[in-house]
Symmetry: C2
Subunit: 1011 residues, 2 copies
């Protein structure tokens, strides 16, 4: 009964609170009156355009993308061209934008020029509306005005995307200069709310800055948790020192979820640092749209109490909703955010409750444009008797002017969040704001453009949610859409390093695997381990005296045994029902999932793969197993051909026979596993020759298949010296198929030898060869360099450039060349080189001494053919080569033609996009390529004419994912269809047709007749 | 007004007639009483089994198929095995059949033995019920009994399927012996209806026989209309003479529609023959289920009046309904029969009207078991005052006993149609009767098992039809089911030689083409004719001094020019939208359709193809054009891969580049066209080298593409000597792809050379090679030899055995070996050899002197390795070789291993089915194969273990049809996927993936999100 009593009381209290909130909300709206925020005012260009955006989603996308690219459109020609490309074809473009485009076309220069000017001016004005000032003096002047209107401020310096340490340094510099200016200016500022404490409202520092910490370390990454926290802190401290010096307030902004734990740790370290622990004006932001925000708030409050260090939390709803959702779905993670606005609103109120209940140790900054949320804070604070100096309200500068005025009238304590800095950086900010304003769920949109009923706007989030649920509107398509293909396939989720358990697992697995180094590995033939006298050591390329394993090498005799075993196994395996065959792959995938960190660790140590690279390799191996198994299920069903009655035609596939799989070392598990799994699931038997650089990782593949219970002889592990057994294997008349991934030279040799068919061979050998690449990335003149630079670093130097998909040429348009190169070099300078087992190292050693030698030769050549503009120191022990960037390379140079397979990047300057495409296509290879461009027509042109197997728009050239980006090229890059794609398995099989004449004596089975 | 008056009167009269029919029908049913035909009597085994058949369609199929095979199951083992295979797995088998099977299995020998005996006995009794006698004395005895009961008869000798002239002779012999017996017996027979005229009922001969004319000439074929009529007449005359001698009646039965015109012509010739024109007792049957029956009846009546020769028509509904329908659909012809029973019934009554109106010149035999139809005849005859001697009624012996008794009571003039002869031949007849009885539309079924309302059973066919239409039941699924694939593809209809216009077109086209012989043909490069000095003559293999055309031969220079032209054209063609490319194929198909007879004629003369073979080649060429075009439309659409938001992945295909198409002479248009069309529609440019034996037919392909308007340089016609330009073409570094069809030797050479990749070559050459075959057909111990023998003749010797799919080994189980071989040799003896332009010749010359020489060498070898059991004379002029059948060949013999490409057939004897499969698989080739077997388990086993590209059950090994039977093999039979199949085009293209990162600044286009 007591329990019910408590519940009932809560309901009553709640209803009383809701009543007061409603009352307060009405008052709030009375203060707002009829005024509209300028952004929604249809008398103005902005209002008209916003209106069109909300009415027409495709136009909104085009418009926002156009705004995004606008700062790069510095010439009349390029501005006009983009205007036309973005808007000329769309029927729904509003008149205000359309004017001039259609009639003038490219020919009508004058019209276009005028239009361009107008559009640029209008959009810049739109952006400027959200930016308090471009320079320090301008900022100071405008802040003064705001303060005169009664608003406090917090300043945020635009341009948080720092792709290099140099940019991070410059960013810190900006803050310091700004603080310098503010220190001086605040001398003259009267405190808000009067009084002469020097504090606004009697308690708040007049100078208040917000800092995005990821900007302080260009290499911040959750995998390198300690390194990230440490490096950011290093740059944050001087900044903090300055804030303390001038008696200001420092708020650490929260950004993307991936930095969240880093930021929390950063805040705790800073706040408890001996130097700052007595300074109370340090705060941080918490995003309640994250499902874990309740936990986060509690943890921060607990920490504050435990440490007896009062804190300040700015409670925000969160600004990266689409991004986080898309990222999570792309990575296969659970969606971390609430997907319905009302859920976030509810979390906000829960956070408010919690913080206000702990107002003794935590100050609250309520940062919301939602009338209901603000009124909730007011009434909750009153209910809990929270003193005024323990909470305040924050509103974004430039947004919702009527709202901020009303809020000021009602609370007196309103702080504006004021971005400051260059227009270019401001565009990204503008788009975020526009997205917010035009989102269907935007409170402002609902309030100011849709005339939503007041009671609805003020209703409590749980009530709102209930209503939405009843209307069936409580689902987000983006969050709910199933990622599984028709066959049930979904990619293995990528690793989430924000999870401390994941990081721990990596360290533990590496430690564990290190205990197992130096073992001897036998061959595995016909289900038995087979030792040979010829043994080679596989070593850690970062530490060549560390033996990973001692691996027996097959001679011809063992190859012959393996072939004999395969032939025997084939007699049963070929007719094993395909569905049954798939079960072994599913089991192997299960085993790999269970052992994934261990599998990674072997790669880290034997192949010099960074954590991420190793994990992606293992995930890809699992994907291959799952994908090919499911593809096989679809292919296994004999297809009925034709529709005439009286005959039954079935089209189906049978395995080719014995398959040699000759694998490379750079994706030592994934590629091996993909080729073997494809061969096996289609009913072939496999003689697997792992690369001699990574035979131990190759052995882990054997372990997976053994643990999966694959029948004896279907898979035989036969490492060996190419010189001893390579030709013998390739030439063997009992082979039906060779699946190879590796260099062009070896590939062509295999193809040539396999083309000879001796009389004792039963079928022409099929060769599936994935060979080299000489991949180019084009940087168009409108490329987003914030995106392009780090992606080029990643594509060119990730895993030391030892991927067939690696970017080895970057083709840059003349007009953007200098800007790009400068940032690229700074970014290159910023990465750390060292053993892969340390996650702070971006780059490690190349695979072996021979590779190092070849790459050094190319570096020498680079100096002769072009001009080396970047090189660096590397560790002495281990097979390291420096990152090398070389300018002045022309298509005819060897540097531009030959695959180097190392961290050597040629930068090539072209005059126009057409030349860029020509140069991109000018090699013997056609594997991958990428373009950074925001020109719809250039992208469309590239879609057809940038002729490579895998082409990427606005992302790097590496990292193809099974099913999503079936991988493989043509020309000298390969023979055969794409790995991880829908045509791959067909290559391992021969089609057959069985036709039954079903009519006997005029009798036709009736089931055939049914349509 | 008059018009309406006439109509009204007709309606009134009609209604009066209907009233009388109803009255008469009621009387009829009163006579029938409660008695059921024995076949439906559930107290008996037959009745139970019929009942189960009608309730369960799959069981019916199994049962009727079992009945079909039963006569071949001469041993206890094979009977038991089949019983088990047919019925053990079916849950719905009625107890009477199931008994013993399940519990005994293979092990339960005793149970199975008993069961086997019972089943055999019961089924044989079922068959015997429909057969009046097995021998002449037995027949005579039983006929006497029937006559004593008051029934007249017409006799039909079972076993009309004659696969050789010997069998046709034997069949005639049977009739003569029978007539002999009847001649003697009729001396003692009192005339029915009393009187001493010696005629039954005062006017009808006592002896009456029905003859199926196709049985009289084993090579009867509508293409050879004159030959067929002549040869049948030759054997019919002696028989007719005998009938005249004994004063009997001869009725020419009608059979399958394909013989209809032959039969009508035969009847007209016989009836008007000087010898018989005064003999009035010659009749023929007309099937009213054929839509053209009204026309046919009119024509016969007109002819009778014109010639002043009275005739007699037996009006039947038709007994090959399913067969005709299926055949028409399989051939792409309009369905020739009515598809709803009521339509046939209506046609019957129209036929009755017409004949009775002309009773002065035509006697009517009403052959129907339909009470309504019979009553209609009675009432109509009364209305038209037709004398009794001008019409009679006919009923099948063994069917519907109560019906025939009632009919006799009502009309007095009932003749029973009495099959006579061996049980084996009777099984086919039994099945036809059972099908009739168990069909949903069967009048007997409706009358005797479904208790259909009397008024319904007697309603007029048009009324019945109206009702069915109202109920939506006036459609036949079998007739209505669309044959078009999802892509809209349907096969080009096969030729219907029953159409005199078609035959005429062939003769005319050959005449026309003969006028054009001897022209000079240039190369065609870059849209221009190019002459060379090197010219070869292409000749008619049947008449080597007849030059078909003089054809310029390409040297290396011309090949280089063609490659240069292709490269140039490729720049535009590669990016021509795929849908646009398909239009050229559709146009070429249109042109080919318009010129089809001409295209055939060129093949008849240059390649020695028979009409049929030539037509099939042209139809296949059209199919390739239509099929590949439609496949390309499906492949052209970039496929969206993956489902994650924020990225757009598209998977699509691009052409490989320059394609050399190296074509064979044996399908000179079809295979050339298929390879070229595939290359072209996928965006490649083609250098086409036709075979040097058929360059003029190759030129017709050029003409098609020119007429279709294909852009210049996309297709280049480059005939030439292999020794001069072959390697140069194959080795050319600018080629991306070689499509070849031809011998293994040349194929392997091309593959080997193409495997070498010089540094100036841009991609590894892709070779699509269709090579040889050494195809086996297995004759299982239960094979239906009526089907197997002619199909083997066709597969082995059709087009002189010059097909890669030709049967060159027939593997026969020991127990059926002798029976098979005897019939095969007789059948081989029956075919005519001579120039292909004469449609009476089954076989023509081989392609050239060199082929003849090689084949003769193999024939010599055949004599050494085995025993030649058949050879024959061949014409002296022309490249003829005899049909050669050789026994005693073992798998190790060259005759069993090497492709001969001529009319040489090895017959191999095996002990069991397992050995048959082993031997079938024992060659280097794996192209086609076939099995004649009625064992479900053997067929199932073969489905997996008879490993060839195209396997056929119960039909020959040749004649694959585009889409229905995608064609091609593996092992040494080919490399690559099947022509005319769903994977074929993929080989001409490289897949590409374009991935667009669609998220910019957190903004994701919303259309991606929609599920």
């Amino acid at each position: 009964m007591l329990f019910i009593g408590v519940q009932e009381r809560a309901v009553m209290e709640n209803s009383r609170l809701e009543g007061r909130i409603l009352e307060r909300g009405r008052e709030f709206f009375r203060h707002i009156g009829d005024e509209k925020p300028s952004i929604f005012n249809k008398n103005w260009w902005t209002g008209k355009v916003m209106d069109a955006s909300m009415a027409n989603e495709p136009f909104k996308v085009q418009l926002f993308r156009f705004i995004d690219v606008l700062p790069y459109l510095t010439t009349e020609e390029t501005l006009g061209r983009h205007l036309e490309e973005y808007f000329a074809k769309d029927e729904n473009v509003p008149a205000v934008l359309k004017w001039g485009i259609k009639t003038t076309g490219i020919g009508g220069r004058l019209g276009m020029k005028l239009l361009g000017k107008t559009v640029r001016k209008n959009i810049e004005n739109m952006a400027l509306q959200f930016i308090v000032g471009g320079t320090v003096p301008e900022t100071v002047k405008n802040l003064k005005k705001l303060r005169e209107q009664g608003f406090a401020f917090t300043l945020d310096v635009l341009g948080e995307t720092t792709v290099s340490e140099k940019e991070a340094d410059e960013y810190v510099e900006c803050y310091l200069r700004l603080l310098e200016g503010l220190q001086e200016a605040q001398q003259d500022w009267p405190a808000l709310g009067g009084g002469d404490s020097g504090f606004d409202w009697g308690h708040a520092p007049q100078v208040n800055v917000s800092v995005k910490p990821s900007a302080l370390y260009s290499q911040a990454h959750p995998a390198d948790f300690e390194g990230s926290v440490g490096h950011i802190l290093e740059r944050l401290k001087p900044l903090c020192r300055k804030v303390v010096e001038l008696g200001g307030f420092l708020c650490i902004d929260t950004e993307m979820r991936k930095y969240k734990e880093i930021i929390f740790e950063l805040y705790r370290r800073l706040r408890s640092d001996a130097e700052f622990k007595d300074y109370p004006h340090l705060g941080l932001a918490v995003q309640v749209y994250l499902k874990e925000s309740d936990k986060d708030v509690n943890a921060l409050l607990d920490w504050s109490r435990q440490q007896r260090l009062p804190i300040s939390i700015r409670l925000v709803k969160g600004a990266y909703w689409d991004y986080e959702l898309v990222l999570a779905r792309q990575n296969g993670w659970p969606v971390p955010t609430y997907t319905i606005k009302a859920q976030t609103d509810a979390a906000f109120e829960r956070g408010v409750d919690k913080i206000l209940q702990n107002h003794d140790t935590c100050h609250l900054a309520c940062a919301s444009h939602n009338v209901r949320s603000c009124c909730y804070v007011m009434e909750k604070a009153r209910e809990l008797k929270v003193p005024d100096d323990r909470y305040e309200f924050q509103v974004l500068f430039g947004m919702a002017e009527p709202f901020r005025k009303a809020l000021l009238k009602m609370t007196n304590r309103v702080r504006l969040y004021c971005p400051q800095g260059k227009l270019l950086a401001g565009m990204a900010y503008l788009i975020r704001r526009l997205l917010e304003n035009t989102s269907n769920e935007s409170f402002l949109r609902q309030t100011f453009t849709e005339g939503r009923q007041l009671e609805r706007l003020l209703e409590s989030p749980p009530t709102n949610l209930e209503r939405l649920a009843a209307e069936g509107k409580d689902k987000s398509p983006l969050a709910e859409i199933t990622l599984a293909s028709k066959s049930g396939f979904t990619n293995e989720p990528f690793v989430d390093y924000t999870n401390v358990g994941v990081r721990q697992s990596f360290y533990e697995a590496i430690t564990e695997v290190k205990k197992q180094l130096g073992k001897t590995y036998s061959l595995h033939i016909k289900g038995k381990d087979v030792s040979t006298a010829d043994i080679i050591d596989s070593v850690n390329p970062a530490q060549p005296n560390q033996v990973i394993g001692r691996v027996c090498q097959a001679g011809r005799e063992q190859v012959q045994d393996a072939i004999t075993a395969s032939k025997e196994a084939f007699q049963t395996w070929r007719d094993t029902p395909p569905r049954q065959r798939t079960q072994y792959l599913f089991k192997a995938a299960e085993v790999a999932r269970r052992r994934k960190y261990e599998l990674c660790a072997w790669q880290v140590l034997e192949a010099g793969k960074q954590w991420n690279q190793a994990y992606n390799d293992v995930a890809e191996a699992i994907d291959f197993l799952e994908y090919y198994a499911r593809e096989m299920i679809a292919l296994a069903e004999p297809r009925k051909m034709g529709r005439v009655p009286g005959e039954d035609n079935r089209y189906f596939y049978q395995p080719k026979g014995l398959a040699a799989v000759i694998a490379p070392w750079n994706f030592p598990l994934a590629i091996s596993c993909g080729m073997c799994a494809a061969a096996i699931v289609t009913g072939n038997c496999v003689i697997y020759k792992p690369s001699h650089q990574t035979p131990v990782v190759g052995h882990t593949l054997l372990q997976l298949f053994i643990e999966a219970g694959l029948p004896v002889g279907v898979f035989n592990y036969v490492p060996g010296r190419g010189s001893v057994m390579g030709d013998f294997l390739v030439d063997h008349p009992d082979l039906a198929l060779i699946a190879f991934t590796g260099s062009m030279e070896v590939g062509l040799r295999i193809i040539e030898r396999a083309g000879r068919t001796p009389p004792n061979q039963s079928s022409v050998k099929k060769v599936i060869a994935e060979m080299g690449g000489k991949n180019a990335v084009i940087i168009d003149d409108d490329a987003d360099l914030d995106e392009a630079v780090p992606q080029i670093i990643d594509s060119a130097f990730g895993y030391q450039g030892q991927k067939c998909s690696a970017c080895s040429r970057v083709i840059v348009l003349d007009t953007i060349y200098d800007r790009f190169l400068k940032r690229l070099l700074d970014a290159a300078r910023s990465v750390k080189i060292g053993p892969a087992e340390d996650p702070s190292n971006f780059m490690g050693p190349v695979i072996d001494a021979s590779a190092r030698k070849i790459i050094y030769e190319y570096i020498k050549l680079a100096g002769r053919e072009g001009k080396i503009v970047y090189t660096c120191e590397v560790p002495e022990v281990g097979y390291y080569v420096p990152i090398t960037i070389v300018e002045g390379i022309m298509p005819q140079h060897r540097l531009a033609q030959e695959e180097i397979f190392g961290p050597v990047l040629s930068v090539m300057r072209v005059q126009d996009f057409k030349q860029a495409l020509d140069w991109a296509n000018s090699t013997r290879f056609a594997l991958t390529g990428a373009i950074f461009s925001r020109s719809p027509e250039h992208l469309q042109l590239a879609r057809q004419e940038f002729r490579v197997g895998n082409l990427y728009f606005n992302r790097g050239s590496t990292g193809a994912i099974v099913e999503r980006q079936p991988f493989g090229g043509f020309k000298m890059s390969g023979v055969g269809s794409k790995a991880g794609g829908p045509d791959y398995l067909l290559q391992f099989m021969d089609p057959r047709t069985v036709t039954e004449n079903t009519m006997r004596r005029g009798l036709v089975p009736v089931d055939e007749i049914a349509p």
